[in-house]
Amino acid sequence: MRLMRKAIAPVISLLLALAITGVILWRTGYPPSAAGEVFIRGSFGSTLNFAEMLIKATPLLVAALGVSVASTAGLLNIGVEGQIYVGGLAAAWVGFAVKLPPVVHVTVCLLAGAAVGGALALGPAWLKVRRGVNEVITTLLTYYTATLIVHYLVVNPLRAPGFTPATPMIAKTARLPLLVADTRLHLGVLLAPAIAAALWFVIYRTIWGFRLRSFGENPIAAAYGGISSSKTVYAAMFASGALAGAAGAIQVLGLDHRFFDSFAPGLGFDSIAVALVGMSHPLGVVVSALLFGVLRTGVLEMTVELGTPKALALLVEGMAVLFLAFERLYRRWLLREGGVRP
């Protein structure tokens, strides 16, 4: 029952967003029924399509877990995109510039990506603790700065010869192994849900998680209870940035095997939507990452077959998030809950 109550807002929001998108498609001259069929086929039409959907959902899930950790502590890390970029580049650099034995190499790459992503998020944490600046603004500023610097590094000093700006290929020892031959399914697809399960355990079954949650629910009460607010902010932001960095690293080590200049545009902003729709609960985020994977793959298939604009996915996401804001309205309508009166 508690789960159902929590799920009401995301379910209604997604359904509303899809319904409105159907109307928009119809009004702009794309038949919605045919579009729906192509959309479903995009993710479930064949084994290969299904694998592609999982591949899309994987970095989205890891980055969204990063957003969730921060929001569990009542913080919004809106700059995940920047942390994903630096994490991906750090992993790629360790992947091509350092020589290490097989299993060790890929592990070190992943940890490097996570460490650099986490370090980038510490700046906003410091500004929040010491200067009282809202983290929404500072994570956004670090995002702009970091992506520009990453762009410079990839186009200039770290660029491999070739037409597209990208780093050299990472060593074979740094790759995440393939799971199924003839697909692009890599180990990251299993790693991501494992991280989600581990995170669930930490947040709901350990003292660190308890501190995070108490601080998120009521920072003042948490402080009276002896929980250090500055330590919590640093820890939450570092964990958040580290997960985002790991998401970038997984994309590089599992899929691209090098860092492309425009390697995952919008991945970070998508992951914010994924985290919000998943109600920032690790298991909810797993479900919502899969849904967004289906959305992305389906929209891509529609672009190929019907010529609908790719931006459709962004429109659905945006509307779903906007409708989430009306959670209390749905509860009042469906559950006759009191509390806030309009």
């Binding site: 702009y144 962004l314 945006g318 906007l322 804001a325």
Partner: protein, 304 residues
């Protein structure tokens, strides 16, 4: 040098409008992180209306109107339904980015840019361009430039010299107290957020109908967020926000001029990152602790 200063003043216009828009909402207690999306939607809709009517003034009305409409949606979520204001704003921003580029492709069958639309008439006749030094600048300005530089002073007078302005500020600081003396918190927040949206929409209109003459995908390019940063720099004061916005305009203009004069000696990305790095540095050092209106971002549940 004078060229840099003048182009700074012009580059600052959309940032000023965004900063003042953010301030108008936040002074009443509503955080408007959706400025970026409102600006982008205002830009797109003003292009669409100007294109359909072949008239810039229709574009202006539509762009400002759609900004106000988005403001009302944000207010409905955050005031009436006590929503998390960041969630509602993020939704508006993402939907605006997706919706505008979707419609651009669906309506005009082209991605990236729209067809050219009739621009807003300039304030001076084109012969003013012959004036040495500032002529090129004077020839470009429209009434929106004037509005952008007048608005901060108008707001200064409104918030600090009129009874109504004082009431609005009290709602942003202590809504319980305001309500106890008979001020409607809900009405003040609705009107403020709608006006905030309208001003953000005007910033978008400016980009299309005064600067470029067409719509470009993602043309707001972070200026809405930069406006919010300017507002924080300016410590939620209308003229302070103006100064901060002009400062950002200056880094933008410097970036362009240094690029032209120094070529590739210094990486271009460093210049592009300059406004953001300066903003971070200023937050770390210059400005001291930043704190806005006390009730900003907190939903208010009426005690009546």
């Amino acid at each position: 040098m004078i060229w840099v200063l003048i182009s700074a003043l012009q580059a600052a216009v959309p940032i000023i409008l965004a900063a003042e828009a953010g301030l108008i909402a936040e002074r009443s207690g509503v955080v408007n992180l959706a400025l970026e999306g409102m600006m982008l939607t205002g830009a797109f809709v003003s292009m669409l209306a100007a294109h359909v009517a072949q008239n810039a003034w229709m574009g202006l009305v539509a762009g400002v109107g759609v900004g106000a409409l988005l403001g009302l949606i944000h207010a409905y979520a955050s005031v009436t339904w006590s929503a998390d204001q960041i969630i509602s704003a993020t939704g508006i921003n993402v939907a605006a980015a997706g919706g505008t580029s979707f419609l651009l492709k669906a309506i005009f069958k082209q991605s990236g840019t729209s067809p050219a639309v009739p621009p807003i008439p300039k304030l001076f006749s084109s012969s003013v361009a012959l004036v040495p030094g500032v002529g090129g600048f004077l020839a470009n300005i429209t009434f929106i430039d004037v509005v952008a530089y007048a608005l901060p002073f108008l707001l200064l007078w409104f918030y600090y010299s009129t009874p109504l302005g004082l009431r609005v500020r009290s709602v942003g600081e202590k809504p319980e107290a305001s309500e106890s003396v008979g001020i409607s918190v809900v009405r003040v927040r609705y009107v403020s957020t709608a006006v905030s949206g309208a001003v953000a929409g005007l910033a978008g209109v400016y980009l299309v109908l005064s600067v470029l003459g067409f719509f470009q995908q993602d043309m707001s390019a972070g200026r809405g967020y930069l406006g919010l940063v300017a507002m924080i720099f300016g410590k939620w004061h209308p003229v302070g926000a103006l100064v901060a916005a002009v400062f950002f305009g200056l880094t933008d203009a410097l970036q362009m001029s240094l690029q032209l004069n120094m070529g590739s000696a210094i990486p271009r990305e460093l210049f592009l990152a300059m406004p953001y790095i300066m903003a971070l540095a200023a937050m770390a050092g210059f400005v001291g602790r930043a704190s806005g209106p006390e009730a900003a971002g907190k939903p208010y549940i009426s005690q009546r």
